[in-house]
C-alpha cells in the first residue's frame, strides 16, 4: 500500500540538503507553506537556491529563511515589497544572489521543466534589461527571448486537501504556483489542511494528480 503521508513537517523535509534548490509556492502569503519552511529552517541547512514569486514578507516563511542566512540565491519576480526588509538587507549586503525573472517567464519556465521541454521562446522581456545577453529570435514577425526550464530538487507547497496517493486540491488564490512547482521538482512536499481518505477527492476536480507529489503532511486548519 502506497501512503505518501508523513507525520510531521520535520520528517517530510528531513532530506533537504545543503545547497539544494527548493521551489516554494505562494504569492504573498496566500499558499505559502509556512510550516514546511519553519521545518526547513529548523533543519539548519544552508546555501539554498530558493524559487518563489517574492523574496519574503515580514518575518515569516521565505523572509525567515533569508533572515537566518540560509539562502544563497533567490529566483523570483518581485523581491521588493514594503515589508521585504530581510531580503533588502541581504541584497544590499551582497550576501544573496538575485535572479530576477518576469513572473510569466517564471511560471512558463517552471511549467516547461515539469513538461520536459528543453527551452522556450518567450515573448516577455524582449528588448529589456532582463533579456540582456540572451538569445532572441524573430518568429512570425514577433520577437522572443530564449529561456530555459527551472527545475528544483524539492518543491514545498500548500494545498487544501490531499490523500495518501498525493492527489491535491487547493483553495482560492492559494493555488497559484503549487500545481506547476509540483510538476517541476524531483521531490514535491505538500502541506495540507486535511488528509482525506482515498477516493474522497472527486477525480474530476483533482488539480494536482498524485504522480507529481511525493509527500503529504497534514497541518490542520488552525495552524495553517
Amino acid at each position: 500500500m502506497i501512503d505518501k503521508s508523513f507525520d510531521s513537517a520535520g520528517a517530510a523535509v528531513a532530506d533537504i540538503h545543503d545547497g539544494a534548490s527548493v521551489m516554494i509556492g505562494g504569492f504573498g502569503t496566500a499558499g505559502m507553506p509556512d510550516q514546511l519552511i519553519d521545518a526547513l529552517i529548523a533543519r539548519g541547512v544552508g546555501d539554498l537556491t530558493i524559487i518563489n514569486n517574492n523574496a519574503g514578507n515580514g518575518e515569516q516563511g521565505v523572509a525567515a529563511l533569508i533572515r537566518e542566512g540560509r539562502v544563497k540565491k533567490i529566483i523570483c519576480s518581485f523581491p521588493r515589497q514594503s515589508d521585504s526588509h530581510h531580503f533588502d538587507a541581504a541584497y544590499r549586503a551582497g550576501s544573496i544572489e538575485l535572479e530576477l525573472v518576469p513572473q510569466g517567464n517564471l511560471a512558463a519556465r517552471i511549467q516547461a521543466a515539469g513538461a520536459g521541454l528543453g527551452a522556450i521562446f518567450t515573448p516577455t522581456g524582449y528588448g529589456t534589461l532582463l533579456a540582456e545577453g540572451k538569445e532572441t529570435r524573430e518568429i512570425g514577425g514577433r520577437n522572443y527571448v530564449l529561456e530555459y526550464p527551472i527545475h528544483a530538487d524539492f518543491a514545498l507547497i500548500k494545498a487544501q486537501q490531499g490523500d495518501r496517493w498525493g492527489n491535491l486540491i487547493y483553495r482560492k488564490t492559494a493555488r497559484n504556483f503549487g500545481p506547476i512547482m509540483a510538476m517541476a521538482a524531483r521531490t514535491t512536499i505538500a502541506q495540507v489542511s486535511d488528509i482525506v481518505p482515498l477516493g474522497a477527492l472527486d477525480p474530476e476536480v483533482i488539480v494536482t494528480p498524485g504522480i507529481f507529489v511525493q509527500r503529504v503532511v497534514e497541518i490542520g486548519r488552525e495552524s495553517a
Binding site: 504569492f27 502569503t29 523581491p79 518576469p102 513572473q103 518567450t122 515573448p123 516577455t124 524582449y126
Partner: protein, 211 residues
C-alpha cells in the same frame, strides 16, 4: 485648467472599457478603475495570481487572505468567476487573451514603449512582477499616469530614458491632463482637459502633438 484627480482619471479609463472585455488592472493606481466600471456591464477582471471575475473588496472583517489580488489586497469573486494556476494565468496574458490591461508608468514613448518597473538608479532593488507580461501580452495596454513628474518633466517622451518594460506595447495614455494615443504612427491627442490647449500641451511635453 481642470486637471483630473486620480479618481477622475480612473473614471475616464473606465468609460473606455466595453462590455465583455477581459481586463487586468495591474497593481496600484490602475486598480481604482474597478470602482468606476458600471455595474450593468459584464466586465471580467483578471488578477495575475489566478482569478478571473474579481469582485470588489470585502467588508472590513470579512477578508479571506487566500482570496487576494496582485497587490495582495483582499478581494471577492463574482458569481461566474474561476480560480486557476499561475501558468494558466500568464497564458491568459501572454497568449493574447486579455483585451485590455491598465498599468502605471514612469515613462511612455510616442511609439508606445513603456518604462514602469525600474528607475535604473544604482542600488535600487529591481522588481518586475507581471508588468512585462501584461505590457506585451494584452491586446491593448493602457497607461494611467500623471503627465508630468513632480518637477514638471513630461512622462510622455520621444524615447524612454528609464529601463524598458516592453517595446511598442502601449496604445493609450490616460493622464491628468488628457488622453493620448501612441504607437507606430507616433502620439496624438485624443482629448485634453478643459482649459488646456494643443499649444499648452506641446509646451508641457515638448512634443509636436496633433489632435
Amino acid at each position: 485648467m481642470n486637471r483630473l484627480n486620480r479618481d477622475q482619471m480612473a473614471e475616464r479609463v473606465a468609460r473606455d472599457i466595453p462590455e465583455g472585455a477581459y481586463v487586468n488592472l495591474g497593481i496600484g493606481l490602475p486598480t481604482k478603475v474597478a470602482n468606476y466600471l458600471p455595474q450593468e456591464r459584464d466586465i471580467f477582471l483578471q488578477s495575475e495570481n489566478g482569478l478571473l471575475g474579481m469582485g470588489p473588496a470585502p467588508a472590513a472583517g470579512e477578508e479571506d487572505w487566500e482570496l487576494i489580488n496582485a497587490g495582495k489586497q483582499a478581494v471577492t469573486l463574482l458569481s461566474g468567476g474561476a480560480f486557476f494556476h499561475h501558468a494558466d494565468s500568464f497564458a491568459m496574458m501572454r497568449g493574447g487573451h486579455l483585451d485590455i490591461c491598465v498599468l502605471g508608468a514612469f515613462q511612455v514613448s510616442v511609439h508606445g514603449d513603456l518604462a514602469n518597473w525600474h528607475t535604473g538608479e544604482s542600488g535600487a532593488i529591481p522588481a518586475v512582477g507581471g508588468a512585462m507580461d501584461l505590457a506585451i501580452g494584452a491586446r491593448q495596454t493602457f497607461v494611467m499616469m500623471d503627465l508630468l513628474t513632480k518637477s514638471g518633466e513630461s512622462k510622455l517622451v520621444e524615447a524612454c530614458t528609464y529601463p524598458l518594460t516592453g517595446l511598442a506595447c502601449v496604445s493609450r495614455v490616460y493622464s491628468d491632463l488628457g488622453v493620448f494615443s501612441v504607437g507606430a504612427e507616433g502620439a496624438r491627442v485624443i482629448e485634453l482637459v478643459d482649459g488646456l490647449s494643443l499649444e499648452d500641451i506641446r509646451k508641457l511635453t515638448g512634443l509636436p502633438l496633433e489632435g
